[in-house]
Structures are given as structure tokens and as C-alpha cells.
């Protein structure tokens, strides 16, 4: 009995072990393959003005939500640095995806083409490449709506007449789209006089101050100011306060800086409203990149996902300002 039993026991033990290990293999091999850590690069401009600082904040917040991803994050102050950053990422890691907000459109296009050629999934945010088809997904704010909604608010608030000073942003498509859309609205309100030729203030507080100072010297009477951007608005406000002028009653900035949104919320007469152009759109891009890559089905998703997404922009008024106030954000 013993003689028969022990070999059988031994045999069954061996069998069980092999089966077990087989099942172990089957059980672990599959998911392990799927769970290979995804590596995603995030390349954005460094914080040269408030909005780009906000982009950095939201990018880091979005990355925190996905600890399962191996993130490679770099900020660049020039197109050359950004190209080098992306090349470094590609060589030092094996990138699966890249989320990029370009410092400038054209110089980043050749490297984006190279990224795509290497089979890396590209999500482009805010500033597009000169060849739109390079990006798998392109997310941008609706700049045309930004200009239109701003102008409609200004025209209504001015009652269709008065003298308006306009400060423009960095000369690029973002600024052109906004400005042209606004001018189309103002064309319907002949009572509104645009003072001089609007000057660029580069989304920058210092430039806003300088341009506003020159406007104040040039024009004896200004009713309202469209600064287009909250950093520019703060600089322009400084210039107005220093000059002691009282003719300017209010201004409209843009992009939803928390300090301005707060003043809108508190019904500061100088800032009757603001308009969002959320830097959090980088987070939208990051989430899209993660969710499209996660299951390895980006190609199938691409069949029905729109390649070009335009995010709507909202007018911030004292009534709804709380919804757009993020005290934790840097912007």
C-alpha cells in the first residue's frame, strides 16, 4: 500500500506543482504584459508669464492623478531648448506618448514629425504645429469665441458708444484669432471708437504697463480698456493708478487669473467681468493621452475621436465667478 501510495502522491504533487506554476505563469504573464508602465513625456514652455505658470501647475496636478504612468516632464524657455528636451526624452526613455504645448509653432514642427515617425502618440495643446495632421490629437481653446465674447460684453457694457483702448498679446495665431473676431463685433457698433493702432503687450505685466503709459500720454479721454489678458490688465491698471486718471472706469482682461476672478467675485467696479482661457487645458491633453494609450487601443479610439478639439471659453461674472476660482492654482 505504502509502496503504491507514495509514488502516486509524489506524482500528483509534481503534477499539481506544474499545474500551479502553469496557472501562475498564465495568470501573471498576461496582466504583466499589459501593465508595462507607460512612459509619457510632457513638454511645455517655462513660466514666462502667468498663464504659462498656470499651465505648469495644471500639468503637475494632472500627472499626480496618474502615478501609474512614468512621467517625463520638462519646461523650455526657447524652441531650441524644447527640441533638445524632446530629443533627450526620446533617447533617455522609451516614450509611448508626448503631450506638448509648443513654445512656438513652426520651429517645433520638424521635431514633432520625427516624434511621430518613431511611433510615439502625440497630443498637441494650445499652439498647433504648422502641419495639423502631425498630432494625433490637438486641443486648443476657442480663440475666436474668446474675441467674440469679449467684444460682445464690452459693446454691451459701453452701451454701444465710447472710446476703447486695446492691448494685444504675443504676435501669434492665438492673438490674431482673438483680435479679428473682436473687431468683427466692434464693426457692428459704429459708436465705439478704437483708439490708435492696438499695440502688443506680450501677455506680460511689464509690457502692459509700458503700452498703457503710452496710451495715457496719447489719448486725453479713454472710457474702457480691453487688455485681452489678466497679466496685461494688471500692468495697465498700475499705469492708470500711477497717472491718477479717473476717466477710465473699467477694463476687461482675460484667461481667468485667480486674482482677477476674485475681484470679479467681489464686484470690484474696475473688473466687471473676466473671460476664461483655462491653462488647465494642458490637463485635458494629459488625460486624453493617458486614456487613449492606456488600453493600447489608440488606433481604434482614433477612428471616432475628433482629431481637433476646441474648448469653449466662458464669461466670468460676479454671479458665476465662484465656479472659476481655484485658490490652490498658481494662476
Amino acid at each position: 500500500m505504502h509502496r503504491i501510495l507514495s509514488p502516486i502522491l509524489a506524482l500528483s504533487l509534481v503534477l499539481a506543482l506544474t499545474l500551479c506554476s502553469c496557472r501562475d505563469d498564465a495568470a501573471t504573464a498576461g496582466p504583466a504584459k499589459e501593465q508595462r508602465k507607460l512612459t509619457i513625456g510632457v513638454s511645455i514652455p517655462s513660466a514666462d508669464h502667468g498663464w504659462t505658470a498656470g499651465v505648469g501647475y495644471w500639468a503637475r496636478e494632472a500627472m499626480k492623478l496618474h502615478p501609474e504612468i512614468n512621467w517625463v516632464y520638462a519646461t523650455a524657455d526657447s524652441p531650441e531648448k524644447q527640441i533638445n528636451d524632446i530629443k533627450d526624452m526620446m533617447a533617455q526613455q522609451k516614450l509611448d506618448g508626448l503631450v506638448i504645448l509648443a513654445t512656438e509653432s513652426a520651429p517645433l514642427t520638424p521635431i514633432a514629425r520625427e516624434v511621430r515617425r518613431n511611433g510615439i502618440y502625440i497630443v498637441n495643446v494650445d499652439r498647433g504645429f504648422t502641419e495639423a495632421e502631425i498630432a494625433h490629437v490637438f486641443v486648443e481653446g476657442d480663440n475666436e469665441a474668446f474675441g467674440r465674447k469679449s467684444a460682445e460684453f464690452i459693446a454691451q457694457k459701453m452701451g454701444g458708444e465710447g472710446k476703447l483702448a486695446i492691448l494685444r498679446g504675443i504676435p501669434c495665431t492665438v492673438d490674431t484669432d482673438r483680435f479679428n473676431a473682436a473687431m468683427a463685433v466692434f464693426a457692428q457698433h459704429p459708436g465705439i471708437e478704437i483708439l490708435g493702432t492696438p499695440q502688443p503687450a506680450y501677455y506680460n505685466r511689464q509690457k502692459g504697463l509700458e503700452v498703457m503709459q503710452s496710451y495715457l500720454a496719447q489719448f486725453d479721454h479713454i472710457d474702457a480698456v480691453w487688455a485681452q489678458d489678466d497679466d496685461i490688465a494688471l500692468g495697465a491698471e498700475q499705469a492708470i493708478r500711477e497717472s491718477g486718471r479717473t476717466d477710465i472706469q473699467w477694463m476687461l482682461g482675460g484667461a481667468g487669473m485667480k486674482d482677477i476672478v476674485k475681484r470679479v467675485m467681489k464686484e470690484d467696479p474696475f473688473y466687471p467681468a473676466d473671460i476664461t482661457y483655462p491653462p488647465s487645458m494642458i490637463a485635458v491633453g494629459i488625460h486624453l493621452c493617458v486614456s487613449n494609450l492606456r488600453d493600447g487601443q489608440q488606433d481604434q479610439i482614433g477612428q471616432f475621436m475628433p482629431q481637433h478639439l476646441k474648448l469653449d471659453v466662458d464669461l466670468v461674472t460676479p454671479e458665476n465667478a465662484e465656479k472659476y476660482f481655484f485658490p490652490e492654482s498658481t494662476y
Partner: protein
């Protein structure tokens, strides 16, 4: 060789013999004569106020000298070892090629800067020149490619552009990508060369300090580029061909990048290697090279010795201008565009940093090309390492600054105090 050399007994050139004989008041007891400052290392043909090494009391041994001379190389070695230990991915061929590719543009300028600093000058205008020359080239290229459209709607373009477009139409070149790119290449190189010659003339004939003359260029060329592009970008209308020079290269057999595509040795890297090699040969083995060092070591002595100092200076500034043109060409091609506000910003300082880290003396008269190459690689390795370790961009300048200062301090160790 600048002089017909007699039979050589060692690896020192005939100049070395000449110098040792000509400076009899040299401190006695230095034994081997050139041990402290063999001409192969210091290249100082004249003793004098600009040449401290030659008069310095002998301190330290031959081994210590060699160590001090090789310190940039040692620093690079240590840096590479540390970075590799922290992250072995650093030494992958793709990553190393990256460093070379990214820094070959500044590198080409740094070779020219070595000559300028060796002869006791400085050139701050090269960074802005890279933007202006590159932008001008793309502007001309687009004028050729778009000539038909420009001539059809002359009111919306500047007069000079319309005139050029009309000329290209008449010549039958309109829309030809080959002609457009060839003209752009030529114009970019020529712009650099001329701008360099202007600097040289301002400094020699105009008696301006090099710092001032080239500071003017730094402001002026940037402003010209921005005015031409309205503060924006020069975008090339050549979809792919123009960008081949900056992005393409020679495929390296058997090596692939992490994505399975073959690795290429980029053209800019090859250009940089060629320029560095030629620079070395010119500096060591031509009369011009000796004159550059002579002028930097002691301008008055050089003048009394019959060196035409002004011509040497003009040639040197023209050289760095032409090299800046080459960098502009490669960089415009790499990006297939030029950013009028950002392209080339701080490149002059990166080039100067590479030269200084490489052991070339800021006051001129002593230095070496290979040192500049090593200095450049140190800058490149640091930038790459900081990306690899995900150090914030805002701290990268601090690290770079500390390394520059540390490198120069390290070189001081072997030298006597001023």
C-alpha cells in the same frame, strides 16, 4: 608651419626653440626649459605681461602640469562616470549622439570664439547674428518659392521683396526649391561672413573695444530679425527639403534608437567635427594660427615683430562671423524656421563658457581647440544630465553657472597667483 624648421629633436615645434633662445632672461633652473609651459600646451610665443606662465616661478612638477592641463578632460570624465552611475541610460548611443547634435550649433561658434578669445578679443554678436542670418535666408527662400504670388499682389509686400520676386520670375526661378535653398544657403553664410568683417573693421579701423562693437551687433541683429518677422517666426515654405541638413545625417550601421529606427550621425555633428579639426590644424600649423596667439599674448610685441595685427584681427572676426553663419544655416534648417525673438539667445555666452571651461585664457594668448570641444561636451553633458534627472529648468542655470566657476577655479590650482 610658419618657419622652415630644422631637424626636430622632440615633438616641440621650431618656434619653441626660437622662444627659449630668444628669452635669455628667463628664470634659470627650470631644467627642461619647456616643462612648465611646453608650447604644445600653452602656445605662448612671447613672454610678457600677457604671458604669465613664461615668467612664473617654477612650481609643481611635470605631472602636476599635465594634470592641470588635462583638468577639463578629467572633469568631463568624472561627470560622465557620475551620471552613468546615477542612470546607465545616459551612455546609450542615442543619448550621446543627442548631446553632440544639440550642442554642435553652439559648438561651431565656440571654435570661432576660441580664436577670438585667443587673440584677446570677444564677440557678443554671434547669437543675434544666428537669428538674423537664418531669418534672412528663410526670407529669401520664401521669396523665391512664392515669387509668383508676390508679384501678383505687390501691394501687400515690401518693395524690395517685390523687386526680388519680379527678378526671380524673370529668371524663371520662381517656385524652384533647388534654387531657393541654394540661394538661402549662400545668403546665410555670406551674411555671417560680412557681419564678422564689419565687426573686425569696427574694432581695428574704428578703434572700438571688441566688447562694445559686438554688443552693438547683439542688439542690432536681434532687432533687425524681429523687425523683419514682426516679432514672430520666419517659417520656411519648403516642407521637408530645407530641413534635411539640420535633421538628417549618415545612418550608422547596426545601431537603432529605442524605437527601432536606425541611428543617424547628424550633419551638424559632422560639420562640427570638421570645423573643430580644421580649427586645430589652423591654430597649430599655420602662420595665421601663430599670429592669433602672438597678438593675444602681447599685441605690441607682435606688432614690433612685423605681424600685421589689424589684418589678423579682421580675419579672426570674419572667421567667427562665417562660423556663426554656418550655425545659423544648420539651426534654421533643423527647425525649418527661425524664431526672431528666441533663436540664438545666449548662444554667445554658451560659446564663451565652452572656451573658458576648456582652459583658454580670457585675456588671450594661451588656449587650445580640444579644450573648447571638451568644455562644450561638459556643458552638453550637464544639460542632458539635468533632463535625465528631471531637474527643474529653473535650476539648470544655477548648475551651469557653478560648473563654469568650478572649472575655472580648478584650472587656477596649477597656476601661480596673479
Amino acid at each position: 608651419m610658419s618657419m622652415p624648421g630644422g631637424p626636430k629633436t622632440d615633438d616641440r615645434g621650431p618656434e619653441a626653440v626660437d622662444r627659449n633662445e630668444g628669452t635669455g632672461d628667463r628664470e634659470k633652473g627650470t631644467g627642461s626649459g619647456g616643462a612648465r609651459c611646453s608650447p604644445r600646451r600653452c602656445l605662448s610665443p612671447f613672454p610678457g605681461p600677457g604671458n604669465r606662465n613664461a615668467e612664473a616661478p617654477h612650481r609643481g612638477s611635470r605631472a602636476w602640469d599635465a594634470l592641470a592641463n588635462l583638468s577639463p578632460l578629467l572633469a568631463l570624465g568624472v561627470l560622465v562616470a557620475v551620471v552613468t552611475a546615477m542612470n546607465p541610460r545616459f551612455v546609450s548611443p542615442a543619448n550621446l549622439l543627442n548631446i553632440l547634435h544639440a550642442w554642435s550649433f553652439v559648438g561651431v561658434i565656440a571654435i570661432g570664439m576660441t580664436f577670438v578669445i585667443l587673440q584677446g578679443g570677444i564677440d557678443l554678436s554671434v547669437g543675434s547674428l544666428v537669428a538674423f542670418a537664418g531669418g534672412l535666408g528663410i526670407w529669401l527662400m520664401n521669396t523665391v518659392l512664392d515669387a509668383a504670388a508676390i508679384s501678383a499682389a505687390p501691394q501687400s509686400f515690401s518693395g524690395i521683396r517685390v523687386a526680388l520676386a519680379d527678378a526671380f520670375n524673370a529668371l524663371g526661378w520662381a517656385g524652384s526649391e533647388g534654387v531657393a535653398i541654394a540661394l538661402a544657403f549662400a545668403l546665410i553664410l555670406l551674411t555671417g561672413l560680412l557681419a564678422g568683417a564689419v565687426n573686425g573693421l569696427l574694432i581695428t579701423k574704428g578703434r572700438l573695444a571688441a566688447f562694445i562693437a559686438t554688443l552693438g551687433g547683439l542688439a542690432a541683429y536681434r532687432s533687425l530679425a524681429q523687425a523683419m518677422a514682426d516679432g514672430g517666426e520666419f517659417r520656411s515654405l519648403s516642407p521637408e527639403t530645407f530641413s534635411r541638413l539640420g535633421t538628417g545625417g549618415v545612418p550608422i550601421p547596426f545601431l537603432t534608437n529605442p524605437y527601432g529606427l536606425p541611428l543617424v550621425l547628424p550633419w551638424p555633428v559632422l560639420a562640427f567635427a570638421t570645423v573643430a579639426l580644421l580649427g586645430h590644424v589652423v591654430l597649430r600649423h599655420t602662420r595665421y594660427g601663430r599670429y592669433v596667439i602672438a597678438v593675444g599674448a602681447n599685441e605690441t610685441a607682435a606688432r614690433y615683430s612685423g605681424v600685421r595685427v589689424d589684418r589678423v584681427k579682421i580675419a579672426t572676426y570674419t572667421l567667427i562671423g562665417a562660423l556663426a553663419g554656418l550655425a545659423a544655416l544648420m539651426n534654421a534648417s533643423r527647425m525649418n524656421a527661425v524664431s526672431s525673438g528666441q533663436t540664438g539667445v545666449m548662444w554667445e555666452l554658451d560659446a564663451i563658457a565652452a572656451v573658458v571651461i576648456g582652459g583658454t585664457r580670457m585675456s588671450g594668448g594661451a588656449g587650445r581647440i580640444w579644450g573648447t570641444v571638451v568644455g562644450l561636451l561638459i556643458l552638453g553633458v550637464i544639460a542632458n544630465m539635468l533632463n535625465l534627472l528631471q531637474v527643474s529648468t529653473y535650476l539648470q542655470g544655477l548648475v551651469k553657472g557653478l560648473i563654469i566657476i568650478a572649472a575655472v577655479l580648478l584650472q587656477r590650482v596649477g597656476r601661480p597667483a596673479d
